[in-house]
């Protein structure tokens, strides 16, 4: 480690690794740092000049630059802020940042966009095929459903001709009367006609259906 005291550097390329400068002045110098032990500047003055990083020293700014363009700009800004304020101590680890606040997160934005687009696509598809409007239309091929009672209007329901209806009514009446009356069929042999209800009563009493034969 070399120590320089009260020297004036002017228009020079100064390699500062491992050095200690006390009361020195640098005029239009190129300050070269190669990643070695950090130099110390005590009561020094600078005018003009530029900073040049070489060898291992290049890695850190390149890392910070990569971070910056990758979205961690705020974190890098924080490092720079601490650097400017002189609070960036050796081996100081930056405070972990909230992932939400690290800038634009293109991966998450893509995920949201994909999910949203899929939902919209599905909803549009459901409307397109009619699932969200009238499911029955889909089932019936677009035809609207109608109540069953309307499918066959009453006026076209088949009915008996008036003449036949009269015959039927008369037939029904006579046959039902025949089923509900007493009569002698053959008085000599004791054959009679009885109402069906009476016949049922006899069958129930007898418990056998073969009684009538």
């Amino acid at each position: 480690m070399a120590t320089f005291q009260n020297e004036i550097f002017e228009n020079k390329e100064v390699v500062v690794d491992d050095n200690r400068y006390e009361g020195c002045a640098f005029y239009n110098c190129t300050m070269v740092y190669r990643g070695g032990k950090a130099p110390e500047f005590i009561r020094c003055s600078f005018r003009g000049g530029k900073v040049q990083l070489e060898d291992d020293a290049v890695r850190t700014p390149r890392y910070l630059g990569t971070l910056y363009v990758s979205g961690a700009s705020q974190a890098v800004e924080g490092v720079l802020a601490r650097l400017k304020s002189g609070t960036l101590a050796d081996n100081q680890r930056p405070v972990a940042c909230d992932p939400v606040n690290t800038g634009t997160h293109y991966g998450r934005l893509g995920l949201y966009s994909a999910v949203f687009a899929f939902v919209i696509f599905v909803i549009i598809g459901l409307f397109w095929f009619g699932y969200l409007i009238y499911p029955t239309q889909q089932v019936l091929g677009g035809e609207e459903t109608r109540p069953l009672s309307e499918e066959i209007p009453l006026e076209v329901m088949p009915s008996l001709p008036l003449e036949l209806q009269t015959v039927y009514d008369g037939m029904t009446e006579s046959q039902l009367a025949q089923n509900d009356s007493y009569a002698w069929l053959d008085a000599d042999n004791g054959a009679v006609r009885i109402p069906v209800s009476a016949a049922i009563e006899l069958l129930l009493a007898d418990g056998s259906s073969d009684e009538g034969e």
Binding site: P99, L176, R193, I194, S209, E211, G212
Partner: protein, 195 residues
């Protein structure tokens, strides 16, 4: 460090739930179907597999030969295999009037409305071979049809067929009863007519 914050996780889960619900809106019309039930299948020989021998659908085990076939050891039964109750006759009358009267008439003489329109007049229940049919033979006619009469097996359940037969028996007794077998009240009603 997680990919999504808690709030974002909730939103994503909610969206996923909405998607699941939407996907659940299925329509049977759109479901996969087999065009030909007995067509070729990649898994089985046919898409619809053959039933195993003696397979019986649930509720169709009909071991009672008399009740479901109308026969006993292959011969038509002579007696009704059901218990005669008022309900049986009520059911039998209702079904007879619905299914049988158009041809056989309300009294069973074969003088239904169709005979008036030129249809061959069916046999009367009160004379001839039809009157001599056993209940088992009647059951067979209702079940399998006979002549111009078609089968009613798919229209009338076996128990209801027996109810109809019971009512026909009542009709037969009604139209040809013996005075001596009647109750005193019935005999009195006939006596009034004779006078």
């Amino acid at each position: 460090m997680t990919l999504l914050s808690r709030k974002e996780t909730r939103i994503t889960l909610l969206l996923s739930l909405v998607l699941l619900v939407l996907v659940g809106c299925d329509n049977m019309v759109e479901q996969a179907k087999i065009d030909q039930p007995y067509g070729e299948s990649e898994v089985f020989e046919t898409a619809a597999r053959d039933l195993e021998p003696n397979t019986v659908p649930v509720g169709y085990l009909r071991e009672d030969e008399a009740l479901y076939m109308g026969t006993q050891d292959g011969s038509p039964v002579e007696e009704l295999p059901i218990e005669l109750t008022t309900e049986v006759f009520t059911t039998g009358q209702l079904l007879y009037e619905n299914f049988c009267t158009p041809c056989h008439g309300f009294s069973g003489y074969g003088n239904g409305i169709v005979a008036e329109e030129g249809f061959p007049q069916p046999a009367s229940f009160h004379d001839g071979d039809t009157a001599a049919l056993s209940v088992g033979e009647m059951f067979d006619v209702i079940t399998n049809g006979q002549g111009a009469m078609y089968s009613y097996a798919t229209r009338i359940q076996p128990e209801d067929r027996w109810a109809i037969i019971a009512y026909i028996r009542a009709l037969q007794l009604s139209q040809n009863a013996s005075y001596d077998a009647l109750t005193p009240d019935m005999q009195a009603a006939l006596d009034e007519l004779a006078e």
